[in-house]
């Protein structure tokens, strides 16, 4: 993986993928919660500010939710 942004996108997608089995709505909430609980602020800020093209639907939903209520 090259670059921090790629790495953050990969991490968010990986979290989302593991929650996906619980259904999209739950998974989006759980992914958002997980990032909030375990990510350093600069990481959160970076993924919010960065290119979201590589995010899966759930991950993108989670990031959007974080943006709405950080």
């Amino acid at each position: 993986m090259s670059g921090t942004q790629d790495r953050l996108v990969y991490m968010a997608n990986q979290i989302a993928r593991n929650f996906a089995v619980q259904g999209e709505a739950v998974a989006i909430a759980a992914t958002a919660r997980h990032i909030l609980d375990f990510w350093d602020p600069r990481m959160r800020e970076a993924i919010l500010a960065g290119d979201r093209a590589g995010l899966s639907d759930i991950a993108a939903g989670a990031i959007a939710r974080l943006q709405a209520s950080p």
């Binding site: 593991n18 089995v21 375990f38």
Partner: protein, 947 residues
Amino acid sequence: MGYEPQADFGTPEVRADTQVTLTIDGRSVTVPAGTSVMRAATTSGGAIPSLCATDSLAAFGSCRMCLVEVEGMRGTPASCTTPVAQDMIVRTQTPRLEKLRRGVMELYISDHPLDCLTCSANNDCELQDTAAEVGLRDVRYGYAGAHHLGQQPDLSNPYFLFAPDKCIVCSRCVRACDEVQGTLALSVEGRGFASKISAGQRADDFLSSDCVSCGACVQACPTSALMEKSVKEHGKPERAVITTCAYCGVGCTFRAEMRGEQLVRMVPWKDGKANRGHSCVKGRFAWGYAHHQDRITTPMIRESVDQPWREVSWDEALAFTAGRISAIKAQHGARALGGITSSRCTNEETFLVQKLVRAGFGSNNVDTCARVCHSPTGYGLKTTFGTSAGTQDFDSVMDADVILVIGANPTDAHPVFASRMKRRLRQGAQLIVIDPRRIDLVRSPHVQAAHHLPLQPGTNVAVLTAMAHVIVTEGLADEDFVRDRCDWDEYQDWARFVSDPQHSPEFLEAVTKVPAAELRAAARLYATGGNGAIYYGLGVTEHSQGSSTVMAIANLAMATGNIGRPGVGVNPLRGQNNVQGACDMGSFPHELSGYRHISDGATRTMFEQDWGVALDPEPGLRIPNMLDAAVDGTFKAIYIQGEDILQSDPNTHHVAAGLAAMDCVIVHDLFLNETANYAHVFLPGSTFLEKNGTFTNAERRIQPVRKVMEPANGLEDWQVTQALANALGLGWAYTHPAQILDEIARLTPTFAGVSWDRLEREASLQWPVNDQFPDGAPVMYVDGFVRGKGHFVVTDYVPTDEKTGPRYPLLLTTGRILSQYNVGAQTRRTANTAWHPEDVLEIHPLDAENRGLKEGDWARLASRTGETSLRVSVTDRVAPGVVYTTFHHPETQANVVTTDYSDWATNCPEYKVTAVQVTPSNGPSDWQEDYAGLTARSRRIAAEPAE
């Protein structure tokens, strides 16, 4: 405490509901039914002479010294093999017995050397003591008869010698190897007068035998036939200090036996509740690193890593360090600073490091090596059960009927516990092993796994889901337990999920490569075989789905009702001695001690009030994120206590790049480790023998670590951290770790009842220790889960992104070996290298043949992240397509090839799955040679201290 051997009651303790009262030499004695007369006599203060009896071994009855007279019984029965009976009347000292004992002793001494005064066991010898007790004055047989004198000693083992002419053939060594250690490496050869102890077969010596050098035989020997070489060298110890081993997570307690400041030997403490008097080659013998010439005892600094080190005073080193940290903080902010706590250091030291980072540096960028080993355990068990720890004590295994070992290799990594497990298996418990390799537990003398599921690395979740499928669809779940203890709705969701035909063993066989019938049989056995206990290790956690696997394990245990009593449970086998403690102490960036989230206002307030500073409410960076941030330029300085992340963390190139990008790397360690190649400050550390404090083992047992000798560098590690804090102006004033422990107890509800005084009295406590569990909790969740109802989590199998392909067709998995420990910093500096001088690559014969590789050939091991070279060992322990190595030697740097894939929830690296290629090689790779050069340059120390 002075030096005196621990009391020996002759035969093992018996637990019985009924008590029996008898009379021994006129004294009335009450003991549990089934106790031997010998033990009853010893208990009541009237020890009976004996040689073949010792309380760690079943009564044997061969030496015939312990004969007694019993009213109404014919002859003179041996007190070790005679159980007590109600109203029995025993006499242990009569003229007839005196004569018999003296007669037997006369026979012994007629075939024994007479050089007691120059013997290494002089004044520490049971034969000598017993000869004195029975009053032997002359050997009327003379010394010209047949004898065993003059035989050459076996000096092959690095740590102990075997002198056959001092052997009295009591078989204690053989029995210790059989009963206590379970290796069965020894036997008696021949018979009658020609009987002699044999290590293996006729041509074997101790080193070539199956001996694992645990020391149990040496411990059991009543003479100096088996003797530590260190005692021969230094003489009999004169004092002993009880302390806790600093190797693996078993947490053995030892008597450190001393002569002055010289450690003479480490002897397992019989009252230690984790080890019950047993030991392994590391804790028992591999302590020489403490005295090793490589120890750095003077602080060193340098402006940049291309310079040689400069030895300086503590004051100068601390001022230099504080200056750099303050400057970075001023320029880049607190979040550019961080620290790593050590799972090898004490709870108190760990607590201080995270306190320094949070309260002194002002960030939450603190992490610990658990990040790279058991962080998924913390996450998974907290999510399901509510507590980030294993559920049982080690004793629990003796009540298990079915033992499921997944992703752990206890005989190598947790040998003392493995011996208990093997003892239980020899008693008839059944064993299931889930592991890509055929580890020793699968089949070794008298141990045979009922089922070995040799899964494809990376498919743990699929295998456990398939087991759950069998248990649920075949109606083997314990629904009463689930309804009572767990969230029933969640269980039903989970049960529906696992029941899906796509989760059947047959469907998943293509993924897991585990034969479905075998998997079904294993699942049935676990669910229906009685008490089922799961033991797991890093083969579970070090995966992209480490946390999912931990939760899948918890699900299985709950679904089958295997929680909340002895003999069951979910038991992580912790890697390092204090990895449980380091986690407990708030070493993770998102939580304070006792696993409370940093964002929780009430908790944070408690700390802020106690510490008198404001804390950052946001989680900090994990180790891999710190390295990323360093490369990005937002993370500048790190204080690393007792860790060698360059060698132990994955993707060495990435770690090196991160370290190289920092402005201030402070390494606080015993030796100039690999990480120190990139350090600006080196603060010399102290060994566990040189400090006070506590360790917490894998069974949540908090045990004291006691200072055995003065620190070579003058300071215990907590004192160094305190000095650094004070150089930063924090004004700490701890004078003893007991005060730090008081602070921990004050701020951590699960430790509320823990104190140094109490540990001095009670030797150990298993947390939680508080109002609800005033005496601690050997077995957790007896009355329910901490979080209320047990939480079933649906764990979907998500394959790792690390895939084999044409370029990298093999899967590498990594692990440990008995004689070496972790990065080998300690064990490589001991004679343990006799067993494992280098890392080797295990490869299946088919894969070896395809590559033209033979046993002992050099091979290049390459992945997409890097390559290294090492020798191969051709073995069918690994399946075709799988290769295996250890990571104990920096010359190999196995982590050059591991990737930065990691657990989805905790970023625990995926050490256990790396796609690799193996090709023939002529020797070390270019990178290895370059690295050796870098290391040599980096370790230069300026000849004269600068003024």
